[in-house]
């Protein structure tokens, strides 16, 4: 039993390294060589911290609101593909952003909603480890948010 335990710890360590690599938690990014796409909020996406990303995007802070509903799994089946959906019961929503504070870059996605777009969006995100996920909805120029915890466990076998 003792040596089996040692073996499984070793497996876990390697799996961790593999997962960290897959999710981009070690190594250093080479700077983007081409120009960024028009309108892409570069400095917000390059901020490591949630506060800096929000400051860069909006220049103000949010308040938590039950008018924003954020749906995320309790335990992610794979940190590389976590379904996230946001629905707001708020008027004049002009943007929705989704932040994953424990990721190397806190801002994962930012959506601009022109007139006519319903205040909702669903996408799939990578999460490096167990983390909070925050959805920020801009309504009538104010920021409302909802936050959930997502457990990211080590997989690697795939069932």
């Amino acid at each position: 039993m003792r040596d089996e335990q040692a073996v499984s710890l070793e497996t876990t360590r390697r799996m961790t390294l593999r997962l960290l690599a897959a999710l981009g938690l070690y190594g250093i990014a080479s700077p983007a060589s081409a120009d960024d796409a028009p309108g892409w909020p570069s400095s917000a996406f390059k901020a490591n911290k949630q506060d800096d990303a929000l400051k860069s995007l909006y220049g103000k802070n949010f308040e938590l609101s039950d008018k924003v509903s954020l749906e995320t799994p309790e335990i992610a089946e794979n940190g590389a593909v976590v379904p996230v959906s946001v629905v707001a019961k708020l008027p004049n929503v002009t943007s929705i952003s989704i932040l994953v504070p424990e990721n190397p870059y806190a801002l994962a996605a930012y959506y601009k909603l022109p007139d006519g777009a319903l205040p909702q969006v669903a996408c799939r995100l990578k999460m490096a480890k167990t983390t909070k996920v925050i959805a920020v909805v801009e309504s009538d120029g104010k920021l409302f948010a909802a936050a959930n915890d997502v457990k990211v466990t080590l997989g690697g076998c795939g069932g």
Binding site: D36, S85, A109, P114, A117, L118, A122
Partner: protein, 102 residues
Amino acid sequence: MPTIRMKAAANGDVVEVQALVQHPMDSGFVKDSAGNIISAHHIETLVFECNGKPVFSAFWGPAVSKDPYLKFAFKGAAKGDSISATWIDNFGKTDTGTAKIA
């Protein structure tokens, strides 16, 4: 092969759109088997237009999953209208796909 697959369905005056894009969405931190870092390669913008007007715009960083998926809904279009999606990535590559609203 086209890189964008889209389904758009009208339900009353609301059109629900789902899109799947084939893209590696490399984070820029991962090393290949030889130990070299794979450069960040991800979609930065994905813009949807219908009847000549933007209806939804996505701005993405490298934390969006490989082969990204997006679902949204909008008002102001009808069955039979054509909707287009255009992505641009950080390498300057781009592609456009279209679908008819069903």
